[in-house]
Every structure is written in C-alpha cells, then in structure tokens.
C-alpha cells in the first residue's frame, strides 16, 4: 500500500560547518543520519526524524538544525495538514493513533491569565535574603480539632500520618517501563536531596530503589503490577491511581516489547507479554468501593501511611473530590488534561478532560463549601511549567504540586512526543541499554535538584513580595491573584477578581 504520510521535519545541515565526524549518526536511534554511498558525506532520512534535538545538541560544529517540513497546507483552516496526515495513517493501518507527552493543542492556559500581587507601601514585602521563609509543606488529613497539653507542650490528639516536604513540589508518577530505571533513580536521588517524594508509577518498584523508601510514593493502579505487602510497606505513602490527565477514563497498555527482563521482574509479569491496566479498577464501582480499597491499603500498612487518590481533571471533578475526601483519602491528586504521558491514544489526550486551573479552583471551593477541605490535602499537576505556576496553584487552593514533564525536561527531554516508540535518544523513555546509559542518574539528579532549588528561591521571592513568609499563608489566598483577559464565568469559577478590580 502506498504510504501517504509526509515527513514532519527536515534536517538542515550546514555543509560549510559539518566536518563529517559522524556524531549525529551515533546520536540517533531513529536512523535519520547516514553516510552516503561515497562514504564521506552524511545524508538524512528526514521522515524518520522526531525532532528530539539530540543530534543538534551533540553536534560539535553546531552544523545541525531541525526545521518544519516546508510543505504548505492547501489553505484550509478546517482540513489542516495534521488532520489529513492522521487520516492517511489510519487509512493505512486501521489502528488507534498513539501519542505521548501532553496535548500540543492550543487550549487556553489559565496560568497565563492569572497575575500575582505584590505589596507596595502597606503590609510591606519581606526580603527572603535576610528573613526566614517557610516553604515546608505537610500533606495528609487533619483532625477537626487538635487537643494540646499546654503544660507539656505536646499534641494529645492522634494525628493521621503526614508527609513532610521541604519544598511544595513532588514528582509525578512515572513507571519503570514508561521511563528507564536511570530516570527513576535520578528522580529518587533528587527527591531525597530535596526532602520530597518521587512516585513509582504503576509498574512496581525496582529493588535498586528500595533504599529510597522514605522518599517514595508507590502506586496502586488497576493492573496491580508489582503490588504485594513488601511493595506497600516500602514507601512513605501509597497512591491509588484512578485516572491520569492525559488519558482520563481509559487504562494503560505497556506493549510487550517494552516488557524486558528487568521490567518483567519489577512488574511481576512474564517477559514480552502486554501489561494491561484495565480502564477501571475492577473492585471500584462507587465511592463506597473506593473507600474499601483505601482502607484495605491502610489495613495492609497498619494505618501508618497516608493514602493518595489520583484522578484526572474531568467535568465533575469537584463532586468526585468530595466523594474521595469522604471515602478516606488523605491526599487528593488532580491531574489536568495538559499533563504528560508515556503513551495515550491521541484523540483521548487531545480531547478529554479539563484544565487543571479550573478543576483545582472548583475542587477547593467545593471542599470548603462542604467544610471538609481540612480533612484532605490537595496536590495538582498537569502541567506546571515554572515557579509562578506553583505560586498560582497554591493561591488557588493547592497544598503542593507535582511535576513530571518539567522534571524530564530538566534531564534532557525535548518534548518530541515520541515516548511510545521506546527509542528515546535522551535515555528517558526507553529500555534500550545503549540509550538508557546516556542518562547518568547522579548528574540528572543534580539537574533536577538545581531546577527545584531555583524554583523554590523564586517562590520565596514571590511570596516575600506579597508580604507573605510561609506557604501556609499563601494557600487558597486568591486575593493574591487577578485575572486578565478572562470572562465573568471564568473569573467566577477561578474565584478571582479581574485585574484593576
């Protein structure tokens, strides 16, 4: 059958600069660069390029750049080249289109319509360079009333288990299988160094990561891969994954070719077989059933670990979150529809779910209205791109945020969106040992630590500017936000005033 698909990218090689050294050939797992028949000049098979930028970064002569394929569309803003190429691919294969990372579509990013406040003259700003700033966050359920023995200066009430984070940022769930073990190691090391948590994802926990249990959140998803009492007890907390922002309402399939010997051992399934996480948990059909799973995990860990429940941001997120809080979740995690993924059907990723900003504002408000906000902590993700997004999220009502894509970008991800093929040139979303060794856990961890430390300093500066010296005073403090370019309904849902008001 004639393949109608066009190249997406074009490799531009500056022949004046190129020294024919061949680094680009070795850099590319997709086989884009090759020596021509004369054995000297290097040519490019443009169609294979995914724009991961590995060759561009590695080229010692700076002779490479990736450009868009110069084909013009037919001028229709309805039948764009993108839609026509998708149809061509499906007409050829009869298959579901797969995609990776967050949706590239231009839906509104509400973070970019929210501006932060700063003090001028009154309630003066605080200088974080000489005043202490508190960015520590505790996550978990709080009792309705705290009894304190003042004479002994001791809390008498029994406190539910809490997670202590030195920064209001943790790392999103990324399973071994979807990312390499080196990537997980880097996240684990960074989490320990920063005093926060990484999340195993649903693929079990590799034995090399067991040392990091104090900084580990293990995940229980519908496939229950690698879940046994040892796994549950080898973590600071347990997350029940109901949904993911990039693919709300559907399960996950790790294709058999990615189930290598190591992945098989961690997931505890045979090598080479598809690892299927069904769409629902087959023991959860209601909020009451969710409660049953939450308490089964608490029973299995003797009530010593908080239980997180993660859902995708969907239309009824607020009502669902209320149910989750009442079902006994200690921490609610909400993942917005711009969140990333190792693999998701393209139509789901690009069309299902709602922005995290609106979901967060609605959930926080609903929990407050029902007087149950303090019974849970709220963590949001999908997608947080900078320290300013974190400040906005906390001011909208989040206790902390979770970053996935940003942490991966820190270690080399260039968002090419080709994770599902398992040939990641940066050694992140691959199990190929020739590629995974490109990512050194120690130096990658250092990059992640640098990123979060930098962000944390910026958070301190922004808080200081507002005259606030602790995250606790920022949480749900929507007076610190003003909308720009938003309509009345959007402002109402976000619970913020328009700039100038």
């Amino acid at each position: 059958m004639l393949d109608h698909s066009l190249p997406k990218y074009r490799v531009y090689r500056d022949l004046e600069e190129c020294s024919n050294c061949g680094v680009c050939i070795h850099s590319c797992s997709n086989g884009v660069h090759y020596k021509s028949a004369d054995g000297v000049a290097i040519k490019a098979d443009h169609k294979k390029c995914v724009n991961c930028l590995r060759c561009v970064v590695m080229c010692p002569e700076n002779a490479l750049a990736i450009t868009e394929w110069p084909q013009v569309g037919v001028g229709s803003s309805n039948w764009t080249l993108g839609y026509m190429q998708d149809i061509a691919k499906q007409a050829q294969t009869g298959a579901v289109l797969l995609s990776s990372m967050g949706t590239p579509n231009s839906y509104p990013v509400y973070w970019d319509h929210l501006l932060l406040n700063a003090s001028q003259v009154t309630n003066p700003s605080i200088d974080p360079l000489r005043e202490p700033m508190e960015t520590r966050v505790f996550l978990g359920s709080r009792p309705n009333m705290l009894k304190i023995n003042e004479r002994q200066r001791k809390v008498v009430s029994k406190m539910p288990p809490q997670l202590k984070m030195n920064v209001p940022v943790m790392f999103s769930a990324m399973s071994f299988g979807s990312v390499s073990l080196n990537t997980q190691k880097a996240l684990a090391m960074a989490a320990r160094e920063l005093g926060t948590f990484f999340n195993s994802g649903e693929g079990g926990l590799h034995r090399d990561l067991e040392d990091y249990s104090d900084n580990t959140i293990v995940q229980v998803a519908s496939g229950r891969f690698g879940v046994d009492p040892h796994y549950l007890n080898n973590a600071a907390a347990i997350e029940i994954k109901i949904g993911q922002g990039a693919k709300p309402g559907i399960g996950g399939h790790l294709p058999g070719e990615k189930v290598t010997a190591e992945v098989s051992g961690t997931r505890m399934i045979p090598q080479g077989s598809d690892a299927i996480s069904p769409a629902p948990h087959h023991d959860i059909y209601s909020i009451e059933d969710l409660r049953q799973l939450i308490f089964s995990l608490k029973e299995a860990t003797l009530y010593k670990k908080p239980v997180l429940v993660k859902i995708a941001a969907v239309h009824n997120a607020a009502a669902i979150a209320s149910g989750m809080a009442r079902a006994g979740a200690d921490i609610i995690v909400i993942d917005g529809f711009r969140g990333g993924t190792g693999a998701a059907p393209k139509r789901i990723r690009d069309n299902v779910g709602i922005p995290i900003e609106l979901a967060l504002a609605a959930v926080d408000q609903r929990l407050r209205d029902e007087s149950i906000r303090s019974t849970v902590s709220l963590v949001v993700s999908g997608s947080i791109r900078s320290s300013a997004d974190i400040v906005r999220a906390i001011a909208l009502g989040a206790d902390a945020v979770s970053i996935g894509s940003a942490a991966l970008i820190a270690v080399g991800c260039h968002q090419c969106g080709d994770c599902y093929r398992g040939r990641c040139n940066w050694g992140i979303a691959t199990q190929d040992p020739n590629l995974t060794r490109r990512l050194h856990p120690e130096s990658a961890a250092k990059r992640i630590v640098n990123l979060v430390r930098g962000w944390n300093k910026e958070i301190e500066e922004m808080m200081g500017g507002m005259g606030i010296n602790s995250i606790d005073s920022l949480r749900g403090n929507r007076y610190m936000l003003r909308g720009v370019g938003l309509n009345k309904k959007e402002l109402e849902i976000l619970g913020v005033k328009h700039a100038g008001e």
Partner: protein
C-alpha cells in the same frame, strides 16, 4: 468440621476470638495482636468484618465461623484462611501467596489481580472472578470453583489457573491473554471470543487437574452429597492465542 483438619488439630499454638459486631478496624487489630503470639486463630460470630487476613504472612492460619466481609485475604502473603460458611466480594484481592478455602459460595471479583496462592470455593462464585489474575516465575495463582461461575470469569486473565466444575456465565475470559481455564466439555463455548483457543488436555494439564480435584475432594468431599471425583476426560481447556492481544491496536 474443624476437628477433621489435621493441621489444626496438631497445632498446639491456637487461640479463639469472637468478633460479633466489632468494627473491622478493632477486629483486625485484635486479630493481628493474637496472631503475633499464636499460629492458628479461630474467629467466631464473624459479621461481615472486612479485610480479615489482610497481608497475612506465611505460617499463620485463620478459621472463620460466620460470614467474613469483603476483601478477605487481600494482599495475603502466605497465610491460610478457611471459612465455614459463605464469603463476600473480592476475597484474595491482589493476593500474593497462601490458601483460602470457602465451605460455601463467594461473591464477585474473587482473586482480582491475584499473583500466587490458591482459592478453593466449594459452591458457586459471583461475577468477574479471577479478573486480571497474573502469574510470575514460580508463582501460579489458582482458583477452583466447585459450582457455577457468574459472568466475566477470567476477564483480562494474564496468568494462573482457573478450574471450574460447574457452568460458566456469559463473557467468559474476555481479554484473556495468559494462563489457562479448565472447564467441562459439555459447557457451550460458542460465545467465547476469537482470541481464545479451546484445546484438549495434555499430560501436564491432567496432572494439574488431578491434583486440584484431589485437594477439592479432601476439603469438601465429606460435606457434599454423593460427591465423586469427575472424570478427567470430561475437561477441556481455554487458552489465549496470544500474550499480545493489543499488539496491532495502535498505529506507531
């Protein structure tokens, strides 16, 4: 019945506990405290307390009189539980190892995502039993159902063994991509999906079935009217055609 159990009679380190209407949190805390000091525990007057035997390790046994609640033997890790009555939903949820014996029927989703150990059910079972069961290395989860099974038996099954002595419901083994289901030849299998094969037994199947039937008979033979071991010739097996049911579902 309990007096017939050799293991129990020989165990000098056993205790008793009456649960009555205790909340499951108190009940399970008491059970854990008792089992820290003894190896066998008889629970009497059990009224649907959930999570009995949750994550219970090897070397510990519980004998339940009454009706245990949902998620009994969840994440169980080598212990054994025998129920002298019916059991509710999701027994052996994500069970890792051990033995569960039900002298009666059980509810839905028994053995969900179970990875190891064996569940014997004397009578019928509910829907979605053995769903997403998986096997790994020397671990081979096994469920023996003496009566009829509800719909969706072995759905998404990724490994292990189900032996069904009675009739199967609809949507049998949908999405199955590992393991084996043994059932009677006289069951109408015209409704199963094209992804599955119906095959005659080989020698290793016969050894496995014989072993399981003998255990079933040991557990329940004396309490069933005129129970006789079924003839091995009466069984066939269902296995998936591929461990990669969705290999061609996506366009890369």
């Amino acid at each position: 019945m309990l007096e017939n159990k050799k293991h129990f009679v020989c165990d000098n380190n056993k205790e008793e506990l009456t649960l009555g209407t205790l909340h499951f949190q108190e009940a399970n805390e008491l059970i854990r405290q008792k089992l820290a000091k003894c190896s066998s525990l008889i629970l009497r007057n059990v009224f649907a307390q959930r999570y009995i035997g949750c994550a219970m390790p090897m070397g510990k046994s519980i004998y339940v009189f009454g009706t245990p609640g949902n998620d009994m033997a969840a994440y169980m890790d080598g212990g054994s539980i025998e129920v002298f009555g019916n059991a509710q939903d999701q027994i052996g949820n994500t069970m890792n190892d051990g033995v569960v014996v039900i002298h009666g029927r059980c509810g839905d989703a028994a053995g969900y995502a179970m990875r190891g150990g064996t569940i014997f059910i004397r009578d019928d079972c509910g829907w979605r039993v053995g769903i997403n069961m998986k096997q790994y290395q020397d671990k081979c989860p096994t469920i023996v159902i003496g009566g009829n099974a509800g719909n969706f038996l072995g759905e998404y099954m990724a490994g292990g063994i189900i032996l069904l002595l009675g009739k199967a419901g609809s949507y049998l083994a949908t999405g199955m991509h590992g393991g084996v289901i043994y059932l009677r030849k006289n069951i109408d299998l015209s409704g199963i999906t094209d992804d599955l094969s119906i095959c005659p037994l080989d020698d290793s199947d016969e050894t496995k079935i014989t072993g399981l039937l003998n255990s079933y008979s040991e557990n329940f033979g004396d309490e069933l009217d005129k129970f006789t071991l079924p003839d091995i010739e009466e069984f066939v097996k269902i296995i998936p055609k591929s461990a990669r049911p969705y290999a061609n579902m996506y366009a890369n």
